[in-house]
């Protein structure tokens, strides 16, 4: 592949399930070596998009090239060049870590002579070399996820797809997973395409596309996105939220939103605005906070919902994972 060829090239990609349009025409390019993030609430079409790029779902319109190959016409060439880490676990708990990797190498036809060295390398990279002989069912959630990431890297793919790689993990494990992904990405010069719900994880990306209701609403680097929001976020709790919103519009010309029992709006120089707010609002204020813009604000500004609304739906995924983990020994 020519280094100038984009790792991923998507043109007006669409997917409908009957009447429902899950993805309504998305276009973007991902450069080789880039870490590209897909952000959006559940049902935004992130997983559908990733499934089309991984050849797991057929597009109903548009085109996509991954590692220079068409995802429909050259399905096997795409599959040879990508690694996948799914939202749901796909390890065999009865096999050892080593056996899981060996299985993967055989399925992908990796030259037998190279497998042991490569296996040692990816297992050491994710810190599981010592546990290679242990059955995967004895692993914690974080260890399993690390093993899946190692497996995704095993056949030296050009593009690694990570669908919610840290879902259901505790914050400490999440950050360690991220350290591994970054380290692997640097040593292998691989392109990473990932989806996430967690705003703080989006900061690890070189570029981010925010997706909502099947379309990309904005695509830029995390810094540029934050700069675009510009203003500080002010959140107030009041005795009467509706009155406060009305008063903000009338007296300051500010458009505010009510979310999660508080009123949120954006102003330049938030600290200096707060004294005026108390003096002139005319609605009793119980609490106030001012914060510099975060990706959460970018998300809010472009989709009209907070990332927490989006996270509500992940609770379901987490329960499902717990249930699977509990029934894991019954197989």
């Amino acid at each position: 592949m020519d280094p100038a060829t984009p790792a991923i090239e998507v043109r007006d990609l669409r997917k409908s399930y009957g009447e429902i349009e899950a993805v309504r025409g998305v276009s973007f390019e991902v450069a080789p070596g880039e870490v590209f993030g897909f952000l959006g609430p559940n049902g935004a079409g992130k997983t559908t998009t990733i499934n089309m790029l991984c050849t797991l779902a057929k597009p109903t319109g548009g085109s996509a090239l991954v590692a220079g190959h068409d995802v429909v016409a050259e399905r096997d060439d795409v599959r040879r060049n990508i690694g996948l880490v799914f939202q749901d676990p796909t390890l065999d708990g009865y096999l050892t870590a080593e056996q899981n990797l060996r299985m993967h190498a055989e399925l992908y036809g990796v030259e037998s002579g190279l497998v042991p060295a490569r296996m040692k390398q990816v297992l050491e990279m994710v810190g599981l070399w010592d546990r290679r002989k242990a059955q995967v069912m004895t692993f914690s959630g974080g260890m399993r996820r690390r093993l899946e990431i190692a497996r995704g890297f095993l056949h030296s793919p050009r593009v690694l797809f990570l669908d919610e790689p840290t879902i259901g993990l505790d914050p400490q494990t999440r950050s360690s997973i991220w350290r591994y992904i970054r380290a692997l990405q640097q040593t292998e010069e691989i392109t990473i395409f990932m989806t996430t719900h967690y705003m703080d994880e989006a900061e690890f990306c070189d570029r981010i596309a925010i997706m909502d209701k099947g379309v990309i609403v904005v695509l830029d680097s995390p810094d540029a996105l934050k700069a675009r929001v510009g203003a500080d976020r002010v959140t107030i709790q009041t005795a009467d939220d509706d009155a406060a919103v009305a008063a903000l519009a009338e007296r300051f010309g500010i458009e505010a939103k009510i979310a999660e029992g508080s009123v949120t709006f954006y102003v330049r120089s938030g600290e200096q605005f707060v004294p005026r707010l108390f003096a002139e609002l005319g609605v009793q204020i119980r609490a106030v906070s001012v914060s510099r813009p975060t990706l959460d604000d970018v998300f809010m500004a472009h989709t009209g919902s907070t990332i927490r609304d989006a996270e509500d739906s992940t609770g379901k995924d987490r329960n499902r994972m717990v249930m699977q983990a509990m029934s894991g020994g019954r197989r």
Binding site: C54, T55, L56, A57, K58, D76, D77, R79, R80, F86, D88, P89, T90, L91, D92, G93, Y94, L95, Q99, M103, H104, A105, E106, L107, Y108, G109, V110, E111, L114, R118, Q121, E124, V126, G127, R131, Q135, M137, T138, F139, S140, G141, G142, M143, R146, H155, S156, Q172, T173, S176, R179, Y180, A183, Q186, T187, Q324, A325, M326, G328, G329, R331
Partner: protein
């Protein structure tokens, strides 16, 4: 679930030594064969680590053989012309034992889907048919290995340990196990919940077992049962198995005529080879359908 040892999840400094890069070659016949082999091997590896399954899958056949066989002996000793009832039902039990174990082997593809591992196989750059073939061969092999325990019991039911006979039994078990596994995998392409799958398999397999003649001679049946018996695919595995075993027994001609009459279609005595062919063809057809079904899913 065990072991959520948080100390081991804390990473050491990631290693950034130069990479042992590997290449995934384009798909070829050789890579498909490798895929079939590893799917097959996985079945064997998992079988080895699953001793409970081996033990429990033998309970039912052993109950039939020794409890039913010994118990009904009181009633049937005049009808069997002096042949032990256990000896008579032994060929049938050999068949049903692999049938039950093959059913569990096929269920493993449903478990694989439920626990996500099927997805790992489905996204690999290989044909779906390689996965299905590997599964069916692996399942057949695992089921027949469990059947070996019953072969070892031949002496207990007065069947001689003749090497030719034992090999023949094993071969027939392997074939039957393959066909049943293929049938199960075909069903598994459509029925995706394990409870529903086991329910459907029980619903189909139990009547097949009772109608097949595993527990009774197939001549002189009431008309309706004779018809059902000839339709039941398992009949065509039980009959050659019984002919094989009875061919190595020293019993009176009267006993042979009563207990091992052989299958007939409108008076035509089916050759054993033909019966075996029926089982093989059915197995291959179901394998074909299973491949087609798995290939068609996204």
């Amino acid at each position: 679930m065990s072991a959520t040892d948080t100390t081991t999840t804390e990473p050491p400094a990631p290693d950034t030594t130069p990479v042992a890069r590997v290449v995934v070659p384009p798909r070829s016949f050789r890579s498909e064969v490798r895929a079939v082999k590893i799917v097959f091997r996985r079945e064997l590896i998992r079988f080895r680590s699953d001793r409970v399954r081996i033990a429990t899958s033998l309970i039912q056949p052993l109950l039939f053989l020794f409890v039913l066989g010994s118990g009904l002996q009181q009633l049937s000793k005049f009808g069997t012309h002096g042949v032990d009832l256990k000896t008579f039902i032994y060929p049938g039990i050999l068949c049903i034992s692999v049938m039950f174990t093959a059913m569990f082997s096929a269920a493993s593809i449903v478990w694989d889907r439920e626990f996500g591992f099927l997805r790992e196989m489905m996204v690999a750059p290989i044909r779906r048919s390689s996965i299905v073939i590997g599964k069916c061969l692996g399942g057949a092999c695992v089921s027949s290995l469990q059947g070996v325990v019953l072969i070892c019991l031949a002496g207990v039911v007065h069947v001689p340990y003749d090497p030719i006979l034992l090999l023949g039994i094993f071969g027939l078990q392997l074939l039957l196990a393959f066909s049943i596994t293929a049938f199960g995998v075909m069903v598994a392409a459509r029925i995706k919940q394990i409870q529903a799958f086991m329910g459907v398999m029980q619903m189909i397999v139990m009547p097949m077992f009772f109608i097949s003649g595993a527990l009774f001679p197939v001549s002189g049946l009431p008309g309706w049962l004779a018809v059902l018996n000839r339709i039941d695919p398992l009949t065509y595995a039980v009959d050659p198995m019984r002919r094989l075993v009875f061919g190595h027994l020293h019993i009176t001609a009267a006993a042979r005529a009563a207990l091992d009459p052989g299958l007939t279609w409108w008076g035509w005595h089916l050759p054993a080879v033909f019966e075996v062919g029926v089982v093989l063809v059915l197995g291959l057809v179901m394998l074909g359908i299973a491949i087609w079904e798995f290939g068609a899913t996204e």
